[in-house]
């Protein structure tokens, strides 16, 4: 067995496989299918300072090799998370990372500060890239100033590992990546979903309740891979790659492109056990090609 351990800005992972926010619940939902301690980490549902009802139904549309969603950050707020959910997940033996969203830099910072107090949450992933809420979310992630203002505010309030999740819905993802690095991010993850749309030709209406949604799944992989490659070549901080990963081969492509770790999202819906299979597949690849550690292949592709 090869050495699968990776270190993301001080965060020790048993392997480079994490699960993506919004696709893996709080981890508990998948406990029947896999041993969660075999994952590098779990990034739980998007959490905001105040409770949010999210967008109306319908929130989902199937597409060719993917899906659109406009869930809109439905969650019961950070207080509920700390009081009700944290006790249920704190003993899960992997890195439990909270995905944080907000309406303003102050919102983000306060939410992060609350989570900073939870001993068993070693990192947060700042979502400055949600395409499905009117205020905040992606608005911050699409300009260097917006991104930098949120990350600076959170950096002051949050002492542990700070991962910033980037939006692909921008002209230059590397500019944003550099801006959040300068503002104090310990790592970046990308990509969030791509803005998309579906139309029901019989009803002659847009399918999703708010008209647009975020595209995820295998169909976005080439775009994600290109962006991860570009960002990894531009920043000093570690990069976590995601977007359409459904098997070990996909994951290895991201590692070769320069990602130190990867996240699996939509693929969990098709096969709830896919994440551990990917970790195993990475190990087999390393063994087969004589690599001793997964770190040897990170960014190996010119």
């Amino acid at each position: 067995m090869a050495d699968l351990r990776v270190n993301i800005a001080g965060l020790e992972l048993v392997n480079p496989v994490l699960t993506a926010s919004g696709t893996f619940g709080y981890g508990i939902e998948y406990q029947d299918f896999i041993d969660l301690s075999q994952l590098g980490g779990i990034i739980v549902k998007g959490t905001t300072l105040q409770p949010r009802e999210g967008n109306p139904y319908p929130r989902m549309a199937e597409t060719a090799q993917g899906m659109l969603n406009c869930v809109g950050l439905q969650n019961k707020g950070v207080d509920y998370f700390c009081k009700q959910i944290y006790p249920q997940i704190k003993d899960i033996k992997t890195n439990m990372i909270v995905n944080v969203s907000g309406n303003s830099p102050e919102d983000y910072a306060e939410c992060a500060a609350r989570i900073n107090e939870l001993d068993c949450i070693p990192a947060i992933e700042l979502n400055i890239s949600c395409p499905n809420v009117k205020h905040g979310g992606m608005a911050f992630g699409t300009t260097t100033e917006g991104a930098s203002s949120v990350v600076k505010a959170v950096r002051e309030a949050y002492g542990k590992t700070l991962i910033v999740k980037l939006s692909p819905n921008v002209t230059s993802v590397t500019d944003i990546a550099l801006a959040v690095q300068d503002a104090g991010a310990d790592a970046v993850s990308l990509i969030n979903t791509l803005m998309g749309m579906a139309i029901d030709i019989e009803k002659r209406k847009r399918v999703l309740s708010i008209g647009t949604g975020g595209l995820s799944g295998p169909c976005i992989k080439p775009v994600a891979l290109r962006m991860v490659y570009q960002v990894a070549h531009a920043v000093r901080v570690p990069v976590i790659g995601l977007g359409g990963i459904s098997n070990a081969k996909d994951a290895i492509e991201f590692l070769l492109a320069g990602a130190s770790a990867i996240e699996i999202g939509t693929a969990n819906f098709l096969d709830p056990t896919v994440s551990v299979k990917v970790a195993k597949g990475i190990d087999e690849y390393l063994e087969k090609h004589g690599f001793k550690s997964v770190n040897e292949i990170v960014g190996l592709c010119e």
Binding site: Y30, F33, Y57, T273
Partner: protein, 257 residues
């Protein structure tokens, strides 16, 4: 209840009606897990480039001794049509059992009416079987557009009393299930409904009028089926809740209907 991803093996494929498919499957890996009526499975659709996600399908019949679980599927689109390619011996990958099923009787004296419309009759067979095991005879009220959409009646008749309506009057009483005379004649302690939304709403309305507890099974579009993605929500009196986890069966009192 513990959930499993199983590679079931199809044992029999029948077409009980023009647009309907009855798939029997077995679990070659071991005994079937415990399942409740009203719960469902997320079936993987194989060999279809136009579908991506799994499809939620109710548990239609479960026989633990024979290691057999069945699904009754109506052909509506590309995913359900793909299931027509299954043959005895085919693999049917299923995540099950999912969701919260129907409330079951707590004593043999309770009268339960099971109301189904179209392919919504599917979960009611399993429910009837489970009731009979508890010594409670179920009463079914099944509705369809016309005679050719009334499928597997014999299987229901083997469990209890079956009343039928068709919209064109080709079998049973003419009209909708809510107009059937049995509702005037008899009083029930509980009504369990699965079918098209307008039918479920009409039954819910009737139940309210006569003061009977009523549960309905919703069919919101699903992605994960596990309560992890929040795509399948229904706007209830408690806010947006996941149909795949808190449901698919809901007490109508919880809904904003």
């Amino acid at each position: 209840m513990r959930k499993y991803v199983l590679d079931l093996q199809v044992t029999s494929v029948e077409q009980p009606g023009e647009r309907y498919l009855l798939l029997d499957a077995t679990n070659p890996a071991g005994p079937l897990p415990e399942m409740n009526p009203g719960q469902f499975a997320q079936l993987r659709i194989d060999d279809n480039k136009d579908t991506f996600l799994r499809r939620p399908i109710s548990l239609h019949h479960v026989d633990y001794e024979k290691n057999e679980v069945s699904f009754l599927v109506q052909k509506v689109g590309k995913g359900t049509a793909s299931l027509w390619q299954k043959r005895p011996g085919s693999t049917l990958n299923a995540i099950l059992p999912l969701g919260r099923g129907f409330t079951m009787p707590t004593s043999a004296e309770q009268k339960f009416l099971l109301v189904g419309g179209g392919v919504g009759i599917a979960p009611l067979l399993f429910m009837g079987e489970a009731m009979l095991k508890m010594g409670v005879r179920p009463t079914f009220l099944l509705g369809a557009r016309s005679k050719s959409d009334l499928i597997r009646l014999d299987a229901y008749r083997a469990l209890g009393e079956v009343y039928v309506t068709t919209e064109d009057g080709s079998e049973g009483e003419k009209g909708f299930v809510t107009q059937h005379s049995v509702l005037q004649r008899e009083k029930f302690d509980n009504i369990s409904v699965c079918g098209p939304k307008p039918m479920m709403m009409a039954m819910a309305c009737y139940a309210k009028q006569v003061g009977t507890k009523c549960e309905v099974s919703l069919e919101n579009m699903m992605a994960c089926g596990l309560g992890a993605c929040l795509c399948c929500v229904e706007d209830t009196k408690d806010g947006n809740v996941c149909v795949c986890k808190e449901g698919p069966v809901f007490d109508v009192e919880k809904l904003k209907w």
